[in-house]
């Protein structure tokens, strides 16, 4: 068991999400940075899809209820174990009673604390992911929470380090055509793919709002609601795009101009307000 002593701004239990219920209005949710979750799980010999703790901007302090292997991945950060600094992105052995603190990342937003055996809170609709949009799955962690840890089934990997990817500034990601690309002027499509976007202050697991030159539409009809995916770049009437994250709504009523491929969504999920972002059309 893991005992939560303190959290920073937000700590959630997440796995790879509850896909398959979108037609009933249920968001897939799951880890915002899936490669961060996968890496943390790999470092402790878990299957990649077991649940871990997604930590927003550090500040999480937990105690080990029994001896266990843990690893922290995602954004570059530092751990402290019983107030001694230690490195992230490697397996760490905790004795019963050891206290682990995850510092705020040096850049990026989110870290993943995986425990060998996985966090085994009850699953809801096949997933242990918190969905803050719908209030499904486990609630945000609070001091005093005691989290059950499962049994490991895979062999323990050898001592391994999977270093954090250095931050790229501004972040460059690919962009593929969306269903309503043709609702925008050619100038808007060029502008989307060439201007330096700034991440706005509205950043959460639902999506990232971008600030910059607004995009103009060629077709200004009302759009009947249609399905959304992670990475969909939706343009509301303000003309300023939103890149949807893992906890996206399942349907939306504004045109989707393009789609960020899945692997690049993980990096978008690490952007902080004020960070630069370039979207590059990889086909059009």
């Amino acid at each position: 068991m893991i005992i939560v002593e303190r959290t920073g701004p937000l700590a959630l239990i997440e796995d790879l999400g509850r896909a398959g219920y979108e037609d009933l209005g249920v968001s897939p949710s799951g880890a915002a940075d899936r490669s961060g979750l996968r890496t943390a799980n790999r470092l402790v010999g878990n299957p990649e899809d077991v649940a871990a703790i997604e930590i927003l901007l550090g500040g999480l302090l937990v105690a080990a209820g029994r001896p266990m292997w843990i690893a922290v991945a995602g954004a570059p950060t530092t751990l402290s174990i019983n107030d001694r600094p230690d490195a992230s992105h490697q397996p760490v052995y905790l004795r019963a009673g050891d206290r682990l603190e995850v510092q705020a990342p040096r850049n990026g937003l989110r870290n993943y604390l995986a425990v060998r055996g996985g966090i085994e809170v009850p699953a809801v609709l096949g997933s242990r992911s918190a969905d803050l949009l719908a209030g499904l799955g486990p609630a945000a962690l609070r001091p005093g929470d005691q989290l059950p840890v499962g049994r490991s089934t895979l062999p323990q990997p050898g001592i391994d380090v999977l270093p954090a990817r250095p931050a790229e500034r501004p972040l460059r990601v690919r962009l593929l055509p969306g269903p309503r690309t043709d609702w925008f002027t050619d100038a808007a499509l060029d502008s989307l793919g060439t201007q330096l976007w700034r991440v706005g202050s509205d950043v959460d697991r639902t999506g990232v709002r971008l600030d910059g030159e607004p995009l103009r539409r060629r077709i200004t009809d009302e759009l009947p609601s249609e399905g959304l995916v992670r990475g969909a770049v939706q343009v509301p009437p303000s003309g300023l795009p939103i890149v949807f994250g893992s906890n996206h709504p399942v349907t939306g009523g504004y045109p989707v101009i393009g789609v960020v491929p899945d692997a690049d969504c993980d990096r978008v999920a690490q952007l902080r307000p004020g960070d630069g972002l370039r979207l590059r059309w990889s086909e059009r």
Binding site: D23, L24, L125, L136, P224, G227, V229, V250, T251, V259
Partner: protein, 210 residues
């Protein structure tokens, strides 16, 4: 292949692992959803209906022949599901009932009759788990949303907006006009299926007299 076939739908790009099938209207998209559910194609991992579209979540590229068929096929009419209509008992006690009726030039009785006098069909879900957008199968009314959304709409509120009707599964903020309330449970994670309403479900509202 018959040569009087016309292209009636569009298959739109949607990133690396999805496509959007844009249909002619709601009826057409529901027929296509029915057709796809019979095909059980391994490339299609999931179908998410919209108001007149189907989002296809793919595990592999769509074969060209399947893509062509989806655009041109004349799908069978929907199987009669009228007998399976879900009846929902409603108290027509909503805070906006009188004002909405007034704005439409109707009496509250006439508005209630519009709501109970026809079946509704779930076009698609969204906003919250178990929240179905119900399209009328008979006469339509256009009702504007509230200019200022309520910060809290109680669970079970029966609402209308534009030509849709819906029931709020849980307490949430909301901008639709409230015309009634129901005790029916719309979403239960321990039930299978977890949602009472899913795309294609027909709904008959029935007036509960106080």
């Amino acid at each position: 292949m018959p040569h009087d076939q016309v292209v009636t739908r569009r298959l739109l790009p949607y990133g690396e692992s999805a496509r959007l099938l844009e249909c002619q209207d709601l009826d057409d998209s529901q027929r296509m959803a029915q057709w796809l559910s019979v095909q059980r194609r391994p490339e299609i991992a999931g179908v998410v209906p919209g108001a007149r579209t189907l989002l296809l979540r793919l595990t592999a590229p769509l074969p060209a022949e399947l893509a062509r068929t989806m655009i041109t096929i004349e799908p069978e009419p929907l199987r009669a599901r009228a007998a399976e209509a879900v009846t929902i008992d409603v108290r027509y006690d909503g805070a906006d009932l009188a004002e909405v009726a007034d704005g439409l030039g109707l009496s509250t009785e006439e508005l209630i009759t519009h709501h109970t006098g026809q079946q509704w069909v779930v076009a698609f879900c969204g906003f919250a788990p178990g929240f179905g957008y119900l399209a009328p199968t008979g006469p339509e009314l256009r009702v504007p949303r509230r200019s200022t959304p309520r910060t809290r709409v109680p669970a079970g509120a029966v609402a209308i907006a534009d030509n849709w009707s819906a029931i709020y599964p849980t307490a949430s903020p909301g901008g639709w006009q409230l015309i009634g309330s129901t005790d029916v449970r719309l979403f239960d994670v321990t039930a299978d299926p977890p949602a009472l309403l899913s795309p294609g479900t027909r709904v008959q509202f029935r007036r509960l007299t106080p």
